[in-house]
Symmetry: C2
Subunit: 431 residues, 2 copies
């Protein structure tokens, strides 16, 4: 008897990123075996047997997108203090609100709302940094998304050690939920806490996520305190290397970049958040020239104001063109920031970021029947500069179909919208 595959996916256009060259092939078939990709190749004359045949005519199929920096539950603060710069926005709006609002129920509703938005926008993996991480982890499990979920070392809302032990125990065998450590920033975490984080990271073999060199203010603050740049200071504390994801990196000097390159420390570029908070423009092209792995993140929705990597790619590419008018920005490099390079940044480059035999089946499809995607001179350019997220109508993560015909599967979205509105009322009473 011949093998029966879990899913047989027929793609009119496929951008597998297998060789990282941005090549798009026509009429390809993906065979999915439980949670993994069995094989990818041209559609044969006779189709193999499958429990489900998914025909994606007039669709562009690509790897599920990877968002390397989020604070998911902050969707509940979306649209608050939109006119403020980073320090005022944190001190006047976010920190006081978090103090009053953050509890497991807030985290649950915020995470559920955020997961809906991620699915709608074709994001199947995120690296998140927030509080009550075990609550979030449970939702990633039940929704079926992939998460590198970092426990904040600085939290007054929950006990990092307890949360980290809990996560490490519960998800030891999980292929989808990966515990991690979050240090907020060099200016909020003192040197002792950074060193402790580095020790914990090594002991438990966990990645660390940290905001680095986000503003000029931070640069002068760290210079004042430690007499060096944030990157140099982090190196001295042991927070550097392939498992330390440096987020923002707006103000890096040449030595900082050399250090990151030598130590294989990946970078998460968050252009929209950096613009909205008036922080600056990260030297991404220079970082790539130095060989640093550059991925992309949306940051929290409170400073973006969405969790959309399509608009992020568009803006992020244009921002680099603005900063470097004489240099070439290639669409394939931008797309790698949300697929292959993002997988590498998270230490998952052997299992996600490509549609390739043996990789997990994280697959999305964009419906190409939109006026803004015609004519089809170059679908990769359209992905980066024209797509807005609305095109995604099919999402699979770890072999499970999360969205089909633009409908999120098995979730009562209206229940979540109503709960989000209830939290809004509570926030109103609070402010």
């Amino acid at each position: 008897m011949s093998k029966v595959f879990s899913k047989v996916i027929l793609c009119e256009y496929l951008l597998s990123m297998e060789r990282g060259d941005g090549q798009i092939k026509k009429n390809q078939m993906i065979l999915v075996d439980e949670n993994k990709i069995h094989s990818v190749g041209p559609v044969p004359q006779t189709l193999p047997e499958g429990k489900e045949i998914i025909r994606l005519n007039n669709h562009l199929v690509c790897p599920g997108l990877i968002n390397t920096h989020t604070h998911l539950p902050m969707v509940l603060f979306r649209g608050l203090g939109d006119h403020l710069t980073l320090q005022r926005w944190l001190e006047e709006i976010i920190f006081p609100l978090e103090k009053k609002m953050v509890n497991p129920e807030f985290i649950r509703v915020g995470t559920e709302l955020a997961l809906l938005e991620l699915i709608k926008n074709g994001i199947t993996t995120v690296c998140d940094m927030y509080f009550h991480t075990p609550v979030m982890a449970g939702l990633f499990e039940s929704y079926g998304l992939r998460g590198v979920l970092a426990v904040d070392m600085l939290s007054s809302f929950s006990d990092w050690k307890k949360d980290l032990d809990d996560l490490c125990d519960t998800y030891k065998e999980s292929q989808r939920v990966h515990p991690a450590i979050a240090c907020h920033a060099p200016y909020t975490c003192d040197a002792d806490l950074l060193k402790l984080s580095a020790e914990e990271s090594q002991k438990r073999n966990l990645p660390i996520s940290i905001h680095v060199a986000e503003t000029e203010w931070e640069i002068s603050e760290i210079k004042k305190q430690y007499g060096k740049t944030p990157v140099a200071h982090l190196k001295d504390c042991g927070v550097i290397g392939p498992h330390s994801i440096f987020v923002h990196c707006v103000y890096l000097n040449e030595e900082d970049m050399d250090l990151m390159a030598e130590t294989n420390t990946p970078l998460s570029y968050n252009p929209e958040s950096n613009m909205k908070l008036g922080s600056g423009v990260a030297p991404i092209l220079r970082a790539m020239e130095k060989g640093i792995t550059v991925s992309m993140g949306t940051d929290g929705a409170a400073s973006n104001n969405d969790l959309n990597l399509f608009t992020e790619m568009d803006t992020g590419a244009k921002l680099q063109k603005l900063k470097n008018p004489s240099k070439t920005v290639k669409a394939k490099d931008i797309f790698s920031m949300v697929t292959t390079s993002a997988a590498k940044a998270l230490g998952l480059s052997d299992s996600i970021g490509k549609i390739q035999a043996g990789f997990f089946a994280d697959i999305i499809a964009l419906n190409l029947n939109h006026p803004h995607l015609y004519p089809r001179h170059d679908l990769l350019n359209h992905l980066v500069y024209s797509a807005s997220g609305r095109e995604v109508d099919f999402v699979m993560c770890h072999g499970k179909v999360l969205m089909k015909d633009a409908e999120i599967q098995g979730v009562d979205v209206f229940r979540i919208y109503a709960e989000a509105e209830m939290i809004k009322e509570k926030i109103k009473e609070t402010v």
Copy 2:
């Protein structure tokens, strides 16, 4: 017998822009009488009679958006030369392609494709600058959109005088198609042509649209030729004033802005195009402080790569925050750039840009049932920073319903997609 209205529109949320304060009211009713708004007010206990009752529950209703700078048929060049800067992109890709491709058939297909995209994104009025303008005008008439359509004085593809006479004759009585004059730029139009344009504009009472101070290269080129700034040079040629729309204005000095303010010359801010072509960031906040009317445009899709004012508002607002980290950027000011201020820039502030009794019925609605629009702390902020265009599912222009339940009415979109692909093949043979 009581009056029967053409349309009775029931809005759960209404942003009328009537007083320009960005206020959103709940449970409002708009009565439409043929092509005009008869009245706006709270939903009464007994509904008036209407040929059609349109219930927009869970929708935000607002004025149709106004895009003050486009080159619509250039959608057919979408995605070509995406890595190049302005001068190379024009000289290596666009100008040679236009030479070979631009003919009435190209203009027809390009315009039809662009009109679909405009409708999908809730844009009901554009100010366009391109060639074979009478062909475009006919399509605006048949599709039912509003256009200020500028005939290029520099065209080698069609005779400006013939086209302008034709437009002025045919659309003398039109309330939707408004002829205008386009001068490409101070560096492509010599002083004589600019003066002639000013004369024609006065004689025929038509607005002029012109690219101004887009790049540093242009500033030095005009300085070299005329010993002054582009704005000062245009003033000397008579191309200035409330009917001259200055597009881009990336490099304005204080005197240029004073001149524009004194003469009530409006500005069209095209942030995404300016980023993508590496041109720079226009001093929009300073221009507003000076009292200049600032509107917004997408530019052609070849340098954007879409015709989407939602993503343009988002990026345009963020870009100003990046340029002016200590200043306040208000969402209502950004939204006015695509409604009230845009109407003013086009000389149409008595008839469009607001949902108000006596104004033309240009009305759009956004479906709020999207995770990225929850919770609803501030729907105006969501419009500017979170919406991506996908939310628009109802569009009315001049009293005619162009899109309903996200379906464009009465147009075979697949015919247009196929024609766009055929043009793509011709472009391929050409390059």
